[in-house]
Amino acid sequence: MQRVYLDNAATTQVRQEVVEAMIPAFTTYYGNPSSLHAYAREAGKLADEARAKVAAVLNAKPDEIVFTGGGSESDNMILRGAVAANRKKGKHVITTAVEHHAVLYTLKAMEKEGIADVTVLPVDETGLVTAKQVADAIRPDTVLVSVMFANNEVGTIMPIGEIGKVCREKGVWFHTDAVQATGHVPIDVETMDIDFLSMSAHKFHGPKGVGALYMRKGLNIPSLIIGGGQERKRRAGTENVPGIVGMGAALEIAAAHMAENAAKESALRDKLIDGIEKTIPSVKLNGHRTKRLPNNVNFSIRFIEGESILLMLDINGIAASSGSACTSGSLDPSHVLLAMGLTHEVAHGSLRLTLSEFTTDQEIDYVLDVLPKVVQRLRDMSPLYKKGE
């Protein structure tokens, strides 16, 4: 049976070159960088080379990169760290309704602990927030603005440069969760006035369990993980050198081919969007048509429920994702779709297909052949569906 992987926003295939780059860090250069011998120096050198590669892609300096255990840790670290570092100024944090749970739930927990006041900005029907909304929400006691670079569910790309400018003018730290954007769209921490940026290696064909936080020089926040003095005392714990090496290699390759990959993926993305809109009635594209990640397709398919669609696609070898409640483990569907104004019923029937540079034209044809049949089959079973709709 044909298998098609269209869940690249969840995680990606590790590139062969990345695996090969990592192997020496397991087998030959396995020293602990904190030790005082040749093994340590060799491992430390590998990590620093990776650090330089990650920094270069963002137009940052190597010592502004702190490696972490992934995107969620980076988000937790900056949110808690920025508030702790600015206690004298205040505890007000501004974010958006469509952030990843690593941001929203951390802020919710901080509010409960009494250490943060949070303003959650609403988004428009495409998932966008404006720089003006951010400017209007900033108060004298605002210590951090955290707005994601691109949304993980619907792929909407936020006006990060404009928001960065507003924050810089008002003297407020600006963090962006760029987990979905890094390696996929151009990022420049200087021209975009970004102070902190979270990223995760496994979203750009690197290994799982490793990420990084970009921290603008001079802006100091306390470490989230306390212990040894690794990462210039900013993140305790023995460095995951193989993971760090893999992250550096993966990001370097992603950046080198960014334009061609984006062109290829967005062409296939648009073919998939057009195909679905032409062959399946009563569907709605979620997110923004143009301010969109090159690899993201997200539809609401009326009258049916997301988990059923996923099961049927899986039977046909297609791996996808949904914002339905049944896939989220709660009774509520995706907070992102609800924030964009979708009704519960429509949000339950969402389907996310996320491509990668490895996705082929033939695979998209296969999906466009299978999906309409799956949808019709489920609609025929649905009490909400009337023939011809």
Binding site: F303, I304, E305, G306, E307, S308, L311, M312, I315, S324, A325, C326, G329, L331, P333, T343, H344, E345, H348, D380, M381, S382, P383, L384
Partner: protein, 126 residues
């Protein structure tokens, strides 16, 4: 996540459809929560469920529990059908993940709602 039996009933649901001149129709759940089940019963003069059909909007477990419930009550008397419990549906499906147990409850409620409708219709005729 699902047993083979659940997947079998999801991919090959029994008794899907509607009954035009149904003796009783029950609709339970709501689209806000992501599940709606509709159950159609054809009940003869002896009070036996001659035919049953369902339509479901919902997840794999919602479809499978509806399908199994129809199998369990088809050919049974109304009194027997009223004794259908959600745990009997779960057992017949060889288990459900904990977060999907509510689907089996919905299936039980759908059967009861359809029988309730049958009694109401019967009463209004006399």
């Amino acid at each position: 996540m699902y047993t083979e039996k659940v997947m079998d009933h999801f991919t090959h649901p029994r008794n899907v459809g509607e009954i035009e001149d149904a003796s009783g129709v029950g609709t339970v759940g709501n689209p806000k929560c992501g599940d709606i089940m509709q159950m159609f019963l054809k009940i003869n003069d002896d009070g036996v469920i001659e035919d049953v059909k369902f339509k479901t909007f919902g997840c794999g477990a919602a479809v499978a529990t509806s399908s199994m419930a129809t199998e369990l009550i088809k050919g049974k008397s109304v009194d027997e059908a009223l004794k259908l419990t959600n745990s009997a549906v779960v057992e017949a499906l060889e288990g459900l993940p904990p977060q999907k147990i509510h689907c089996s409850v919905l299936a039980e409620q759908a059967v009861k709602a359809a029988i309730d409708d049958y009694y109401k219709k019967k009463q209004s005729q006399t």
